[in-house]
């Protein structure tokens, strides 16, 4: 018994790949999730939500407002012309821009509603929602901090009361001023010293919201994320199964038997690649059909783009499966390696959660993942509603095809190398 155990240990210690898989997988995953969730590698800037501001008012008041936004710990400000900002949003580079329209300063002084508008990418509604939550308290405070908050409060109360008569308006303004003073005094005497100001009670943080990139499936953000993210991740797992088939053939002797035939050895691999591609396309089609029939995902309106993205995704993912099989020597190696790589790619590529939940460093790393390009492509189709011939969409197709070509080429080299060892 001891001899058997020692023999097994000796074999294990001699197998570098097994060692690597046994220890590297847990270490890599711990590192990855530490980056994603634990704040490792997360600088101060990483935790902030980016906000573009386009100042059309360009007054002292609007500049002061920008400074107030900049003082927010949760928001990172940069200014840009409205035209450039809109282009960046349409390309999917940024999620939104806060537009300070002409008349901001006047509205502030008159206590009227502020001409603020948040233009945003419909595909990033959750991210924009978080940003909105950060902005509303500050916007609500703007009249108090920059304008005549007493006058504004009076105007609001008069409007609520539906009063248009000037005398009555003045009366309401007078009473409002008294009330404002009382509340302010009470707050200053408040022992708890809570940071409250009376304006918050009366002035809403309203902001006009405008979708720059309209999504047809307005209420299906979660669905798109779930379908695209899961479909790509599960596809990766299933193409590994196809790759395992190649190793099964190698272990059971049928691969060797194929070599006895006049068939060109590379055709064996190409045959596997074709099968893997067809199965992958079939799998993705079934998944999207399922999402369409069961959850109402509107695929009919996007068929050309969807088919193109499915083919590109299948090509890249199946190449990954075939490469793994060509590289590994045993099924155990493929299973270990694939679990590691698929989990890493899925985590950083946005299969498991939307990218904007992750630190900036992880979002940048996402581009190395097949998942990222596929999921963004599906977002382009269903959310950004981009046309098939748009540069953004076509660039994602191109990247996936290049990834597939590179992986397939390496697979060919590795397969050739392994064939020589067969006999």
């Amino acid at each position: 018994m001891i001899k058997v155990a020692l023999k097994d240990l000796r074999i294990f210690l001699k197998d570098r790949r097994s060692m690597l898989l046994t220890f590297a997988i847990p270490i890599a995953l711990i590192t990855l999730f530490a980056f994603a969730f634990g704040g490792v590698g997360k600088g101060k800037e990483d935790s902030k939500v980016s906000l573009l501001i386009s100042d059309l008012d360009n007054t002292a008041a609007s500049k002061e407002a920008i400074m107030l936004f900049d003082s927010l710990k949760s928001v990172s400000i940069s200014t840009m012309s409205l035209e450039d900002a809109e282009k960046a949003i349409k390309k999917g580079k940024v999620s939104s821009v806060l537009v300070i329209h002409n008349g901001f300063s006047d509205s502030l002084q008159q206590g009227a509603g502020l001409p603020l508008e948040l233009k945003y990418d419909g595909a990033k509604e959750i991210e924009v929602g978080l940003l909105q939550q950060s902005l509303i308290p500050t916007i609500a405070m703007l009249p108090f901090n920059l304008g005549d908050s007493k006058m504004m409060m009076g105007n609001r109360l008069a409007r609520i009361a539906g009063v248009s008569n000037l005398d009555k308006k003045q009366d309401i303004q007078f009473r409002s001023n008294e009330l404002f003073d009382v509340i302010s005094k009470s707050i200053s005497e408040n022992e708890s010293k809570e940071q409250i100001n009376p304006t918050e009670m009366f002035i809403g943080g309203d902001i006009k919201m405008t979708k720059l990139v309209k999504a047809t499936n307005d209420n299906q953000l979660g669905l798109i994320q779930a379908v695209a993210g899961t479909a790509v991740m599960m596809l990766l797992f299933s193409v590994v199964g196809i790759g395992l088939g190649l190793l099964d053939e190698k272990q059971e002797g049928t691969l060797k038997r194929l070599l006895y035939t006049p068939l060109n050895p590379l055709n064996i691999l190409f045959g596997k690649m074709i099968a893997a591609n067809l199965i992958s396309i079939f799998q993705l089609v079934v998944m999207f059909l399922f999402a369409s029939f069961v959850f109402g995902l509107k695929i009919g309106e996007h068929l050309p783009g969807l088919l193109l993205m499915i083919i590109a995704t299948a090509f890249a993912c199946s190449a990954f499966g075939v490469l793994l099989a060509s590289f590994a020597k045993t099924k155990q190696q493929v299973q270990g390696l694939s679990t590691l790589i698929i989990l890493v790619m899925s985590a950083i590529g946005g299969s498991m959660m939307p990218l904007f939940f992750m630190p900036v460093i992880m979002q940048k790393a996402a581009v190395i993942s097949v998942n990222y390009w596929s999921i963004q492509g599906f977002y382009d189709i269903f959310w950004r509603n981009l046309p098939v011939l748009s540069t953004t969409f076509l660039s994602r197709i191109l990247v996936l095809m290049v990834i597939g070509l590179i992986l397939n080429s390496v697979a060919v080299i590795m397969f050739r190398k392994n064939i020589l060892k067969l006999a």
């Binding site: 059971e252 002797g253 038997r257 006895y260 035939t261 006049p262 068939l263 006999a423």
Partner: protein, 307 residues
């Protein structure tokens, strides 16, 4: 039909083939005998052009392995040692698949597949998945899969390993039929009785070299091969063995039994009995072993064939 000249192959510096040469005539049944690691499978792999030799020359039919391996693949069939069939496919589907690489029309291929299934006694179960077959049935379909393109040369690498007697007999009958019809067959095996029954000529390979070659009779009558006097003793000490081997060096001890190799049993038997009496050994059994492949192999290699 097959000419092999000075074939060499090394793996990571270890010489698997050390320059073997042999020739096989068209229609001949040639047996390649050797223990594990002797170089049989390496030889078959090179002849079937899936492994490149380091040096040497192979000609099959009129094709050189070096210049036209693809042409060679068209005229050979290989029955691998492994059960290299797809378990999830039916027997018929397997045959259709394996025959599909040889430019045979689908209809003709189907006819040949059905004929082979009948020949191997699998006609009734041709639509059943191979995974449900017994080991013997899988062996039969493994062989049939190599015959769809009616090869001129058939390489069989230990095709009857782990098989039941009924399937073995059926396979022998099929192979003998193919041989009678003119197919050239190269057969590697561990089993002496198979080689004795099937082979026209035998090459004995050990440590990457052909150490003897010929018909069974030629091997038996060669100078190198002697008859064996097997003596079993009641007790046999190390000292006794030393004394015996100093007087009779051509011997091999197996526990209390010693095989004495003799060119002339009639005269040597009495000499040996006298020698044992002089040493004081008590003989409990004497057996004269006629030369057969087992004894020939043991004498030539010093090993049992199944070592």
């Amino acid at each position: 039909m097959i000419e092999v000249k000075d074939l060499k192959k090394a793996y990571n510096g270890r010489e698997a083939l050390k320059g073997i040469s042999f020739g096989i005539k068209a229609g001949e049944f040639y047996g390649l005998l050797g223990p594990n690691g002797a170089g049989k499978t390496t030889t078959i792999s090179i002849l079937s052009s899936i492994l490149n030799p380091d040096s040497g020359e192979v000609i099959i039919g009129s094709n050189s392995l070096k210049n036209s391996p693809k042409d060679i693949k068209k005229i050979i069939g290989v029955v691998p040692q492994e059960l290299a069939v797809y378990n999830e496919l039916t027997a018929f589907e397997n045959l259709m698949f394996w025959g599909s690489f040889y430019n045979v029309s689908k209809k003709e291929l189907s006819n040949r597949a059905n004929a082979l299934l009948k020949l191997f006694g699998l006609e009734d179960r041709k639509g059943e998945k191979v995974k449900n077959y017994s080991g013997g049935m899988k062996r039969r379909i493994n062989i049939a899969s190599s015959l769809l393109h009616q090869p001129r040369v058939l390489f069989m690498d230990e095709p009857t390993v782990g098989i039941d007697p009924q399937s073995r007999n059926l396979i022998f009958e099929v192979i003998e039929k193919l041989h009678r019809e003119g197919m050239t067959i190269v057969y590697t095996t561990h089993y002496m009785e198979e080689a004795e029954r099937l082979c026209d000529r035998i090459g004995i390979i050990d440590n990457g070299k052909i150490i003897a070659e010929g018909t069974l009779d030629e091997l038996k009558n060669s100078n190198a091969v002697k008859e064996t006097i097997a003596m079993t003793f009641l007790m046999l000490s190390k000292n006794d063995s030393v004394k015996l081997s100093s007087s009779w060096p051509d011997m091999k001890q197996m526990n209390n039994t010693i095989h004495f190799y003799s060119p002339n049993v009639k005269t040597d038997l009495s000499k040996l009995v006298l020698l044992c009496n002089q040493i004081g050994l008590e003989i409990v059994n004497i057996e004269i072993l006629k030369a057969n492949l087992e004894t020939i192999f043991l004498q030539l290699t010093g090993k049992q064939l199944r070592d």
